[in-house]
Symmetry: C3
Subunit: 338 residues, 3 copies
Amino acid sequence: MNKNLHAFGLGIGTIDRSGKWLEVFFPCPILDPSEEIRRVFSGFENQQIISKARLGSLTEELRELNLHGEADLAERVATSSKPVVAVCLSENSPPRSVPEAYLKLHLLSHRLVRPHGTDLSGLFGILRNVVWTNDGALDPEELDEHLFKARIANKTLTVYSVDKFPQMCDYVVPSGVRIANSARVRLGAYLGEGTTIMHEGFVNFNAGTEGTGMIEGRISAGVTVGSGSDLGGSCSTMGTLSGGGEEVISVGKQCLIGANAGTGIPLGDRCTIEAGLYVTAGTRVTLIDSNGESDETVKAKSLSYVSDLLFRRNSVTGAVECLINRNEIELNTELHDN
Amino acid sequence: MNKNLHAFGLGIGTIDRSGKWLEVFFPCPILDPSEEIRRVFSGFENQQIISKARLGSLTEELRELNLHGEADLAERVATSSKPVVAVCLSENSPPRSVPEAYLKLHLLSHRLVRPHGTDLSGLFGILRNVVWTNDGALDPEELDEHLFKARIANKTLTVYSVDKFPQMCDYVVPSGVRIANSARVRLGAYLGEGTTIMHEGFVNFNAGTEGTGMIEGRISAGVTVGSGSDLGGSCSTMGTLSGGGEEVISVGKQCLIGANAGTGIPLGDRCTIEAGLYVTAGTRVTLIDSNGESDETVKAKSLSYVSDLLFRRNSVTGAVECLINRNEIELNTELHDN
Amino acid sequence: MNKNLHAFGLGIGTIDRSGKWLEVFFPCPILDPSEEIRRVFSGFENQQIISKARLGSLTEELRELNLHGEADLAERVATSSKPVVAVCLSENSPPRSVPEAYLKLHLLSHRLVRPHGTDLSGLFGILRNVVWTNDGALDPEELDEHLFKARIANKTLTVYSVDKFPQMCDYVVPSGVRIANSARVRLGAYLGEGTTIMHEGFVNFNAGTEGTGMIEGRISAGVTVGSGSDLGGSCSTMGTLSGGGEEVISVGKQCLIGANAGTGIPLGDRCTIEAGLYVTAGTRVTLIDSNGESDETVKAKSLSYVSDLLFRRNSVTGAVECLINRNEIELNTELHDN
C-alpha cells in the first residue's frame, strides 16, 4: 500500500436533518492531483458544505492557475441544488469522515487504485447506515415519516436497501463491464475491463476482478480474481470479514470455480474446483500425480497460491483429491518450501 | 400461540378497478389496543373504504375519549388521496381478508408478535398476486395496459416483482438492522435488533432472527434464528413449505452455518455446519467423541435441538461426522431420551 | 426448429444519440401473421423509425383490409412520444438487428414459441449493452453525463443493471405466474402457466418452464424444466454458455432438485437429486437396485434422460449413489442402449 497516496474530489452529497453527511457522489475523482490543486483545496479539511460564493471564487482561482478541468468541475457543481464538498487526501491514512470514505470507495470503483491499495481501516465505523430509495439517500431515523408521507400523497417510495454501502452503479459504471443486477455490486468494488457480473454474481467493496471473466459467484470483501477466471453460479470465496480467518483469499488467472463450489484458500493460476466442492483451509486433500496415483494427503492450506491444480471429490470414495495438471515438480518444490 | 391476540390498525391501501383490496400499509399497528379503541372501531368488520366524513367523526370521537395518538392518526390518514381502512382483530384466528392479512404481516415486521405468534392459516388463499412497481401496486390483469401506456408516454414503468408478498422495507424497517437488498425480505419477516441481511441473505414471512447476526443465507418460511448466529453465503434452511417435511426448522444461538451449507434439522445452540455440507433429517451421521474416536452412527434427525455440535464431511473418508464440542454427556442423555 | 416461422411486431423503442436502437418493446407480437399483414409491412426491412405520417397511412391501409386489430395498434403507437418500428420476420433465421432480436425474445416470453423454437444464433453480437435505469434505457457511453446531471438536479437516477438483456417483467408478464424478484428473469425466458420463481430463482433467455413448478434455483440459458418440477434454493442447472459442454440440459416432469444441488446431465421424469449434491456428466455413480444392493458404477452421463432416479451421496461411504425407484428394467434397457 502506497503511503503517499494523494487524491482529490469535488462531490455532491446528501445530508440528514442535522446537517451530517449521509453519502457523497464524486463525478471525477482524481488520483495524484498536482501540488497546485492540493494547495487550492488545502483549506477544506473539515469537509463542510461549500457555499456557492466560495465555489465561484474557487472557479476563478482555478482558472487563473490554468486548471481548466477543475475549474469547469467547480463551476458545474456550483449549479447543484444539493450540498457540495471537497476532499483532498494527502496521505494514505484511514478515512476520518463520510466524504473521505466515499472518495476512497470511488477511487476503487473508478479503477484509480486496486483493492488493498487504499487504507480503509475503520471504514465501518465511519460509514453511516443509509436507506437507499428511489427518492435518494435517507436517514433511517427519518424513514417512517417518509413512508407515511409518500402513501398519503399516493407516491411510491421504494426502499432498495438499508446499508452502509450504496450500489456502485449509481455512482460509476467503469468501461467494458456488464452487471446483470446492480444491487449486487457495492461501491468500492473494482471491476476490470471485460468483466461480466451475472445475476448470481456479487462483489463486495475493496475486492474485484483484474480483467475479463464471467462472475456468477460471490467475491467477498478483500478478494481479488485474476483475468480470464470464471466463478460459477453461487460459488463462494471466503472473506476475512465473515469467518474466513486472517488469510486474504485471491483467485489467480484462468481459474474455474464451479457452480456451488467454494474456496477458503488463495488459488494460483489455472486452478479448477469442481462444481459443488467447497475447499476450506483445513480440508485434507489427497494429491494425485500424473499417473493417477495418490501420493500423500495434505491440508488444502499448504496448496495456497499453487498453480495448475484441479480439486474434485472422488464420487466413489468420497475423498477430496487434487490433481496436479502440469508443472508437477514446481508444485512439489513449493509444497516442501511450506 | 396466544388465542386472545388483539390488534388494531388504520391503514392506507390500494384497490383494483373492481374496488377490491390489493394491499394495505399500516403506519402504526397496535397490539393489544385498549377496550375503548376496540369499541370505537367495532363497526368496521367489513373493511370497506372509510369516507373522509367518517374519518372526521372518528377523529372527534377519539379525541373525546382522550385517545389523542389514535385521533392524530385518523386525522392524518384522512388527508390521504388513497383509500383508508380500519382493521380490528379481536382474536388470533386465520386472516379472512387482505387488510387482515396485511395487518398480521405488519405485526410481525414491527416486532409486535414473534414468528408463529399470529395465526396465518390460509394466508396464501387470502393474499392477492400483485404486480409491485415504481408506480405502486397493480392488478396483474391490468399490467399489459399500464406497460403500453407508460411506453407511449415515455415513462418508465419498472416491475419489481409479481408476488403475493411485498418487500418488507416499503412498509417498515425496524430499528437497528441492515438489509443489503430489500427485494429479499418479505413483509412478515421478523428481524431482531442488530440483524444484518447481506445481499445473498433472504428472509421469508413468519420467519426471522432473534437479535444480532450476519445473515448471508436463506431463512425459509417459519424458520427462526437465535441471536449471535451467522448464516454463511447461500446456506439453506429447509422450509416446511418446500419439501422440508412437518418439522419446523430453527437455529439456536451462536450457531454458524457455513457458506453453501444447509440444515434440514432444528439446531441447538453453538452448533456449526461446515461450509458446503448439507445435513438433512435422513443424513446418517458418525458421532465423534472428544478423543476423536467414532462411537456410533445416527440419523441427523436424532440430533435435533442438541447444542454444541460440529458437523463436517471427512474429506478423506467422505463420511459425514458430528463432533461433540462440549457438554458431551448432556448430548448423550438427550440422544437416549429421543 | 420450424424453418418457416413468421412473426410480426409493431414496437416502441429507445435510440441512442446516434439514432441506433438500444431496445424495443412490442406490446402485441404476432406469430404467423396473415399474408396480408406481411404484405403491408414488407417494406420495413430496414427497421428505421416510422414517421407519424406513415403510421397514419398504414392505419388506413390496415382498416381497408379489415385488419382492425393491427390498425388499432398502429393508431395507438402513433401517439407515442418514442420512436416506432415494425419488424416482419419471414423465416426462422438468426436475428440481424436489435429490433429483430427483441421481437424474437418477445415471442419466447409471450409463449408464442418455446425455448429453442426460434433461431437466436449470434444474438450476443447483435444485442447492445444497455444501462437499464428508472429513467429508461441508456447508452453506457452516456451514463456518466446522466448521473452527473441527475445529481445536480437533485433527481435520483437508479441503475438497475448494465446488460444486453432487460428484465422480462418490464416487457411482459405472462398469465398465471409469480416472480418474486423481476431482476432475475431475463427477457426471452419462457414461463409456463403456474410457474413460481422465488427470490433465489433465476431464468435466463431461451430457457424456462413448461408449467406448474416452484423454481428457487437457476435455469441456465437453453435449459427447460418440465411441469410439476421443483428446483430447490440455489440449485444449479449447467448451461452450455458457461462450461456445461455441448449437451443441452433439461429437467423432466415432477423432478425435485434439492437446495444447493445441481445437475450437469439432462434428467428424465420423476428424478430427485438430494440437497447439496452436484451431479456432473463425469460423476461416477454407483447404481443401487431395489434390494438396496449396488450392482455397478456408471458415469452420470449414461443416465441422461432416464426417469425415476434418485441421486444421493451416501453419508457413510461418501459415494454418489443412484437409486432406481421404479421401472428398473426400463432403465437398464436404456442404459444398455447408450
